[in-house]
Symmetry: C2
Subunit: 322 residues, 2 copies
Amino acid sequence: MPDNLGAQPGSTPGAPAFERLCLIGIGLIGSSIAHIARQKALARTIVAMDVSADVRRRVAELGLADKVAETAEVAVHDADLVILCVPVGAIGEVARAIAPHLRDGAILSDVGSVKSAVIADVAPCLPKNVHFIPAHPVAGTEQSGPDAGFAALFRNRWCILTPPLEADPKAVARLAAFWTAAGANVEIMNPAHHDLVLAITSHVPHLIAYNIVGTAADLEEVTQSEVIKFSAGGFRDFTRIAASDPTMWRDVFLNNKEAVLEMLGRFNEDLTALQRMIRRGDGQGLFDLFTRTRAIRRGIIEQGQETAAPDFGRRKGEPNGD
Amino acid sequence: MPDNLGAQPGSTPGAPAFERLCLIGIGLIGSSIAHIARQKALARTIVAMDVSADVRRRVAELGLADKVAETAEVAVHDADLVILCVPVGAIGEVARAIAPHLRDGAILSDVGSVKSAVIADVAPCLPKNVHFIPAHPVAGTEQSGPDAGFAALFRNRWCILTPPLEADPKAVARLAAFWTAAGANVEIMNPAHHDLVLAITSHVPHLIAYNIVGTAADLEEVTQSEVIKFSAGGFRDFTRIAASDPTMWRDVFLNNKEAVLEMLGRFNEDLTALQRMIRRGDGQGLFDLFTRTRAIRRGIIEQGQETAAPDFGRRKGEPNGD
């Protein structure tokens, strides 16, 4: 991997790894890539495009890119790295629009939470001289839009690459180096396995969070005001997850249907067993499960994917915090 | 409510509202009450007792109480406020042990997450000259034990009181003033309604968090190491909730069986509908639900039960944070 990838501007000799980085879709992820690419000088020029004129205006105001393009076709002109940061359901359409305009030898990537469906949609429409290397940085917050991004989003998070078997190893290495320089750990994975892993670590958790918030909103015996007032008992954490971007998540479920339904089936089986334990008063069974689940938590904290600090809905320095 | 309840030591004339506060069970909640009672001078003397000798030693080391008693019977001697901070399943047993030793006119309360079962268990064994006023401060973190407590835990959180119909209004007002002085907002509620509200805002959320962590741990196609590495996609927030104290939660489910099973039934119905939307590719239905759930989130933030700051598993000032 080129040495200059992790460089601060001016601190290392040599050119940035990419001449022209084009970001299509400037939400949380797109704007975070813009921030870190600027901070680490990962590209000489950053070009941004978003389908929304309001977002394009905001990107210009925030100075997130060197150029803001009006259309994707224009945006990709001469870019040696193009990253599609649009919802999974829109990736195919954008790829078809830009395909004839991509530079010879360009790397085309994405950040979608689903990989098999994206590959099936995008790969057939690309010219042979473009390196298509799908990617998924497993990082995010519940916030959306160009103002939500920040340079540290990817730090110590995993970015999964799912290159096709015939991918050029040099192109894969260049993209891996880009993500490493952005602070992420890179893992290469088969797209189908990616979709299964993410179904359990991300998609089903979001689905059940959305679901319980919906259940609570529809109750007649418990008012919405009561749900809100007494949410500190656990519910409020689910509302945070269920505050994520609706379009993005609709597309995830429509495009990872099989793996999500499979994992949801396992979840339901286990929940039925738990329900029976409660009905039968099986305290030992409940206690055993509740103890066993702590080991995974410890692993997550030990590997730096979460802090051990207790969370009770406040942060230090905020009005309600200490 | 007496003026001196919110007093800092020495800042207001007059005696504290309670002469002798006895706390039985010094975990997260018990130790947090000790901290705030000391800070706000809510009682002249604080007596603490825990069934574990290790915890008693730690309480003494931390200076959480003026006296640490070896048994509950001794601890309650002459106390005018006794708060049982033990798991719901242990409250009845402790109440039976201390009943003959309670001071005439003492207020007996608890902090259990379930109210009907506790009342059924405790009320019959108490002498007539004791005011039994069940309470539930809806506050907590995923951490347990005497080191986990802190004075601000109850600030701007709700404390629900479920006094019996025949309760002495003066005793209810004294306990309400105690919790108000501790920083909480007080709400009076019928015990059965409390149990239903908490089933949806706290108990079922914990149950499904424990459940999905268990499901993920049991998969064969996805390794535990992968679950941990890629947990930042949403799963890790569930592991936080599923890291709560196993004994406490076992007791909650065994003692609020009916309301939990009722709310779990609603959750399951809704999840089945959502599953069908995914199977049928009903994007509009998914989008509508995912949009609707955002309103509840806004309410929770507006009412100060959560901050709007994005959470991505880091805190400012911590190694991985900004």
